[in-house]
Amino acid sequence: MTLLQTENLYKHFDGVKVAQDVNFSMEPGEIRCLIGPNGAGKSTFFKLVLGEHQPSAGKIYFSDQEITQLRSFERVKQGIAVKFQVPGIFSELPVWQNMQIAVQNHLHGDSMTAAIDKALAFVRLTDKAGELAGELSHGEQQWLEIGMAVSTEPSLLLLDEPTAGMTPDETARTGEMIKALNREGMSILAVEHDMEFVRQIAHKVTVLNFGEIFAEGTINEIEANEEVARIYLGTADDDE
C-alpha cells in the first residue's frame, strides 16, 4: 500500500506550469521532506494534495483511494492534516478551545477531554491552556497548530515550513516532536528549507524544480547530487 500517490499531476495557471507530470509516492510510516528553490511548486503541491487547488490533469490517491474530486474538509476526514506556514490558529480563543475545536469532530465527552489534555501535554502547552492563542509566542503558536493538526488523528501530516522563525532550541524541540509522532505511526510530509533540520528528521527527500520532481533519495544522496546544488545556486538570486 502507498499512503500518498499522485499520478501524472499537472497544474497550470494561465500557461504557467506550477506542477508538471508529478508522480509522487510515499509509504506509510515515512518522514519525507520536500525541498526546492522558491517557486519550485512546493506549496502548489501541498494545495493540490489538500484540495485547495484542482489539478489541471492527473489523479491523487490517499491510502489507495482516489481523492482527486474530494473537497478539502473531506480529505481531512480521510486522515490528512496540515500545519500552515503562517500559524493558522483561532487567535481570539483560548488555547484549550482551539484544541477542542480540533478534537470535537471525532471525540465526545470524557475521551475528548482526555485527548485535548494529551495533545496539550505533547506540545507542552498544558500551562498555557487558559491563555488566548493570539498571546502565545511565535514558536508556541506553531506548536499549538501542530497539536491541533495532530489531534484530528491523521495518518498523514503535512507541515509547511514547521520551523520557520523558530529559535535553534525551538527547532530542535520541533524535530523531537515530529520524530515522536512518527514513532507512533504517523507519516509526515514536510516542506523545509533548513537542510540541517531535514538531515535531522527525513528518511527520504524529494526535490522539486519548476513544478517537476527533479530528484529523490536519501539526504546523503541529495546532498551529493551536483545537479541539485546547481539548481539551488542557479535560481537562488531570481526569487525575492
Binding site: 473537497r71 474538509f73 476526514k77 496540515v82 487567535s91 478551545q97 475545536i101 477531554t113 484530528t152
Partner: protein, 367 residues
C-alpha cells in the same frame, strides 16, 4: 468572582463538574456565567415579571413592542457576531415573515389557532428564503464585503418590489399587499382557549407571552453557541481556512447559522406585524435595515447578553429621540454607530467588561 468575565479554559475544564444543563448554557462563547450572573439574570426576569403591576398599560404595551425586535437582533448576533458573516439583509426576512403572517391570517381568520399557524408559516417562509439565498451565497463562497452588499441589495429590491404593489391586482386571496401604504387588517396573535379565544392585543398577556418566548430563545441560543456547533461557528469567524482544514464543511455551518438567524428575524417580523396589525416596505428599506446593525454593534455583537441588553437600551434611546422627530433619532443612531465602530469595535458592553476587569487586575496588582 467576576460574574461577567469571559470564561477561560480553567472554568471550561471545571465545567465538567457542573450539572449537565449548567454546562449547556455556560461556556466560552458567552459572557456572563457563575452564580452572580445567574442571580442577576433571575432578578432581571423577576423584575420583568412584576413590571406590569407597577406600570401603566401604555408602557407595558410599549415594552412588548421592544421585545418584538430583540429576536431579530439575537439572530443577527448569531450570524454576524458569532459566525462572522456580514448580513445586511435581516429586514428582508423580517418583512417576508410579516407579510406572510398577514396573508395567512387575513385569509383564514384568527379562530382555531390560525394566528399561531400564521406565525409558524411566516417563520418557516423566512427560513426557506434564507436557505435559498444562503445556499447561493455560502455555497458560492461569497464572504466578507460581498456578502454584505448582496444581502443588502436583495433587501432593497424586495422593499422596492413591495412598494409598487399598490394596485388591487396585488392581492393574495383577500390580503391586499398595499404598496407603500403597507398591509393592514391582520388579527393579533390569538390563543385558542376553552370558553373563548384570547386575542393578544398590545397589553399585559402579550407582554408575558413575548417575555417567555424571549427567555426561551435567549437560553436556547446560549445552548447553541456553547455547543460543539457554536465552537465551529466561532472557529469559522476567527479563521475559516483553518476550520475547513480541521475537517469542517464550513459552508454548511454558515448556512445553518444564517437560516436560524433569519428565522429569528422572521419571528420578529411576525410579532411586530401582529402587535401593530401592520407591515410596510418602510420596515425593510435602507434606514430600517441599518437599525438591527446598530443595536447589535452598539451592545456587542459577539455576545448574546450584550446584544440583548444593547438592543433594549438602544431601542429605548431611539424611541425617546423620536419625540423630537424620527429624523433626529436616525441622525443620532448614525452617530452612535460611527462612534462605536471607531472607538469600541467590540461594542459597549464587552468594552465595559474589559475595562472593569483591567481595573480590577490593576487593583489586585497593587494590593
Amino acid at each position: 468572582m467576576g460574574s461577567l468575565q469571559r470564561q477561560g479554559s480553567n472554568t471550561a475544564r471545571s465545567a465538567s463538574r457542573m450539572p449537565h444543563w449548567m454546562r449547556l448554557v455556560n461556556g466560552p462563547q458567552t459572557l456572563g456565567h457563575g452564580p452572580i450572573f445567574w442571580v442577576g439574570f433571575a432578578l432581571a426576569i423577576g423584575a420583568a415579571v412584576v413590571y406590569p403591576a407597577f406600570a401603566d398599560a401604555w408602557s407595558v404595551g410599549n415594552t412588548a413592542y421592544f421585545l418584538c425586535w430583540v429576536f431579530m437582533a439575537l439572530g443577527l448576533s448569531l450570524i454576524w457576531g458569532y459566525t462572522g458573516a456580514l448580513s445586511f439583509g435581516q429586514t428582508a426576512f423580517f418583512g417576508l415573515a410579516g407579510y406572510t403572517y398577514g396573508v395567512v391570517t387575513i385569509n383564514f381568520g384568527a379562530a382555531y389557532g390560525m394566528t399561531l399557524v400564521g406565525l409558524l408559516i411566516g417563520v418557516g417562509i423566512s427560513c426557506l428564503g434564507a436557505a435559498l439565498l444562503g445556499y447561493m451565497l455560502f455555497y458560492g463562497r461569497i464572504s466578507g464585503v460581498f456578502l454584505g452588499i448582496v444581502t443588502l441589495s436583495t433587501t432593497l429590491v424586495f422593499a422596492t418590489f413591495m412598494a409598487q404593489t399598490a394596485g388591487s391586482q396585488w392581492a393574495i386571496g383577500d390580503a391586499r399587499l398595499g404598496g407603500d401604504n403597507g398591509m393592514t387588517g391582520m388579527p393579533p396573535l390569538t390563543i385558542p382557549w376553552v370558553g373563548g379565544d384570547i386575542a393578544l392585543y398590545s397589553g399585559v398577556p402579550l407582554y408575558y407571552l413575548l417575555l417567555a418566548m424571549l427567555v426561551l430563545c435567549y437560553l436556547g441560543l446560549r445552548v447553541l453557541v456553547n455547543s460543539r456547533f457554536g465552537n465551529v461557528l466561532v472557529a469559522i469567524r476567527e479563521n475559516p481556512h483553518r476550520a475547513e482544514m480541521l475537517g469542517y464543511d464550513i459552508r454548511r455551518y454558515q448556512l445553518i447559522a444564517f437560516v436560524i438567524g433569519s428565522g429569528l428575524a422572521g419571528l420578529s417580523g411576525v410579532l411586530y406585524t401582529a402587535w401593530g396589525q401592520y407591515i410596510s416596505p418602510s420596515n425593510m428599506n435602507l434606514a430600517a435595515a441599518a437599525l438591527p446593525i446598530i443595536w447589535v454593534a452598539v451592545g456587542g455583537r459577539k455576545d448574546l447578553t450584550a446584544t440583548l441588553v444593547g438592543t433594549l437600551v438602544v431601542l429605548g434611546i431611539f424611541q425617546n429621540l423620536t419625540i423630537y422627530g424620527s429624523y433626529y433619532a436616525f441622525v443620532i443612531m448614525g452617530l452612535l454607530l460611527v462612534v462605536v465602530v471607531v472607538y469600541l469595535p467590540e461594542g459597549l458592553i464587552p468594552g465595559l467588561v474589559r475595562l472593569v476587569s483591567r481595573l480590577r487586575k490593576r487593583k489586585e496588582g497593587l494590593s
